[in-house]
Amino acid sequence: MDLYDWLLFLHVLGAFFAVGALTALWALILGTRGAAPLLDPRSAMVYGRTGGILVGVGMMVALIFGIWLAIDLDAYQLWDAWILASLVLWAIGGWAGGQAGKSFESGPEGRGAGIRYQTINSVAVLVILVLMIWKPGA
């Protein structure tokens, strides 16, 4: 394995952790809805915090190795439109993820706002995935 292989593996692994943990958090949102949630509040809090940390770590790993890849490869530049758009979406998604965590931590009254921020984060990450596959303009 050369440097490119390692960078790509770690970049994709970070993305898998981020999207995977986001998916797990959506499962938590579905599992805690209604009058008789499947998860008790304490378990839901531990689960949510762990998932939130994993999303953050995954996004950071994907960002660091993604930037490294763009610097390492002659074919891509950090100022390519699809990479810049991904970085902006990454920042929006990261901000929304942080707000989602704060809203859910504030108790049941923060659930609605938490779901809205979680949706913004998920849509941002989904659009980044589209950009990474299609690479418009590359």
Binding site: M1, D5, W6, L8, F9, V12, L13, A15, F16, V19, G20, A21, L22, T23, A24, W26, A27, L28, G31, P37, L38, L39, D40, R42, S43, V46, Y47, T50, G51, L54, L73, D74, A75, Y76, L126, L129, V130, I133, W134, K135, A138
Partner: protein
């Protein structure tokens, strides 16, 4: 560079394949989380087991199908020659097909477990989820590093 050597027709199936794989990892993580939390809490174990079993049926199963159909569609759009052989594709098929067997066993156990309200079934499914997660980590490595 990668975009230049990949036909445009591959993008949509590849997107569905990667999205399915990410959702699969996420739903397996959810089952794994629930199993770990259930081990440390006897009072809440039934609810957590139910959550894990439901996630397996409603999350793992459909995302596996999306990942696998996307993989087959991607390969057909790549138009590889008949004699094309690649270790990374073999690793992908092995993990996917052995994974399919484990997902099917888990789905049956989940169905039975949900009907009986069994905590034990939830734990077995949780252990299988961790095995699948480890296998898919290898698959992600093979798909990106493409060992020959």
């Amino acid at each position: 560079m990668l975009a230049a050597i990949r036909p445009d027709s591959v993008n949509l199936p590849l997107f569905l394949h990667v999205l399915g794989a990410m959702l699969l990892v996420g739903s397996l993580l959810a089952v794994g989380f629930a199993t770990m939390l259930g081990r440390g809490s006897t009072d809440n174990a039934p609810g957590l087991a139910r959550f894990g079993l439901k996630t397996l049926l409603l999350g793992v199963l459909p995302s596996y199908i999306l990942m696998r159909v996307g993989a087959q569609w991607t390969e057909s759009e790549q138009n590889y020659p008949d004699d094309f052989e690649a270790t990374w594709i073999d690793i992908g098929y092995i993990t996917a097909d052995v994974g399919a067997l484990l997902v099917l066993i888990s789905a049956v156990l989940a169905g039975v477990g949900l009907r009986r309200g069994s905590v034990r079934m939830g734990r077995i499914v949780g252990v299988i989820s961790f095995i699948l997660l480890a296998a898919y980590l290898v698959a992600v490595w093979a798909m990106t590093a493409k060992p020959t």
